[in-house]
């Protein structure tokens, strides 16, 4: 039973002092962040900044030593098995999509709804998925491994939606996709957000992520180096130079972090 002071209804996820170590290597060093209910939070960072380690640690899917605290809607989740965390209404859309290639699109979606015991609810969610991502309806009987990268990302989103999540974690949803697909993916993120889920997304593609995010953090070498609303972070000169490639802004703007 957690204390009432920690049951803040406005907070979907509160992470304090998260540290992830692989042996002697520290991947995440004392990271703290908050995902307000109903927000889209982007964590920006380059390769090796600790983004995937953060996501995997929060989802309970990592072989590493973890310290710190993470509360999902007030309940502590750090150290729980991945399937128990999923049962609490948080789902991770993993890096590289990780669709179950030999299973059909429909089977992947049903697997996403594994914990939905009501068939009626499962049908509702499936209909919602098909409405949001019509391609998943068209390709329902095709093995997931035969979809294109962008289609697989839609499937990974749809699969997450099938669990009817309150918070969706996304690990680099735009990775490896053509620019036109990146835009489609960000539209899908917005659609999932409108549906009512809070979203925590890590991205290298800062420009795209900041378009849909309400809040943003910048992660560098396992530490948060900048945070604020998406607009604030986007206009920060260091961020602009490092992640957005906008040198002219870097000279003109003033520091927000």
């Amino acid at each position: 039973m957690s204390g009432t002071d920690e049951n803040d209804p406005d907070t979907a996820l509160q992470v304090d002092d998260l540290t992830v170590r692989y042996g002697q290597v520290t991947a995440v060093a004392g990271l703290s962040l908050r995902v307000p209910s109903g927000s889209v939070v982007a964590v920006l960072g380059a390769n090796g900044a600790g983004k995937t380690s953060t996501m995997r640690a929060l989802a309970g899917s990592i072989r590493a030593s973890i310290d710190g605290r993470a509360r999902l809607f007030g309940g502590s989740i750090l150290g729980l098995s991945a399937h128990r965390i999923a049962a609490r209404g948080m789902v991770l859309v993993p890096e590289g999509r990780q669709v179950i290639a030999p299973l059909t699109v429909e089977e992947n979606l049903l697997l996403g709804g594994y914990r939905q015991r009501s068939r009626a609810r499962l049908r509702e969610l499936m209909a919602e998925c098909h409405e949001l991502f019509p391609i998943l309806h068209e390709r329902a009987d095709s093995p997931a491994g035969l979809l294109s990268g962008g289609e697989q990302q839609m499937l990974a989103f749809g699969r997450a939606l099938m669990s009817d999540p309150r918070l969706i974690l996304m690990d680099e949803p735009s990775m490896g996709l053509a620019p036109v697909m990146v835009d489609r993916v960000m539209e899908a993120v917005e659609a999932l957000h409108r549906r009512g889920a809070s979203i925590l997304m890590v991205e290298q593609n800062a420009a795209s992520a900041l378009q849909v995010a309400t809040h943003a953090y910048v992660l560098d070498q396992g530490r948060i180096v900048c945070s604020g609303t998406a607009t604030e972070v986007g206009s920060d000169p260091v961020v602009a130079q490092t992640f957005l490639g906008l040198r002219e802004q870097a000279q003109a703007g003033q520091a927000a972090c």
Partner: protein, 297 residues
Amino acid sequence: MLQQLINAIVFGSVLTLFSLGLSLAWGTLDVLNLAHGAVFVFAGFITYELTKDSTMSFVPTLIVASLAAGAVTLALELVAFRRIRLHFPARRQAELSMLVVSVGAATVIGEVVSHQTSEAAFSPPASAFSIHRYSLGGSVGITNIQILIVVAAIIVAVALDQGIRRTRYGRAIRALAYDPTTTQLLGVNVGAVAAATMFLAGALAGLAGVMLAIYLGGEEVATGQDYLLTAFAILIVGGVGSIRGAIVSAYLIALAETAVVAYGPSQWRDGVAFLLILVMLLVRPQGLFARRRFQRA
């Protein structure tokens, strides 16, 4: 000729029951369980123990012995295979360790049974199951235990095939076989699914072991090893992890072995399995019913 065909179908049914469990464990959990044959004989031994003083009738014996075989395999999973999987993230390394552990387990189970039966073949008494023979004209006939074996194999084969294809648990097993990490992220308790799968695999070996003990009138520890070898041929011919492949090739190999015994040099019987393994590995190493291959990400 007809009698040989009946014998082949009965033999194929025993092989189906035996090899489906082995295929399930190997195809989904990468457990090449060399103790599968020992568990099979263990169920025959339990049958013998439960019936030798005419204490238990057939159906309860069948259930208890199958559950006992499932429990032994479940214990192996919980004590050894699960820990190995957690300890070695690399599949190949885990596979080898599990294989070695299963050889050890096979030896231990075999020794326990040998010790209890004074290393002799053990035979459930005739009272365990009263065998009736139905004449099909001339010298051709079929017994009630033969019918039971065939019916059990058909029920199990269809149920398993459809269960794996269509149920929630079946989807979880197939997903687990491909990518356990992601499967767990989706809310599947992969440890529980693996445990249930190993229990099922053991119970199927048990079912086969009980019925074979009654059918042949006796078993010994070495019986398990013979069946294990034949089951490997079945898995290789059928394609690893393919339920339908295992079923079809179980009957094919039963036909081939029966034909060799009946019409050919019968001492070549054990060579049939080896020959098929060799030919398949040369000609079609993925098996007759290979699963579609996907690159693991």
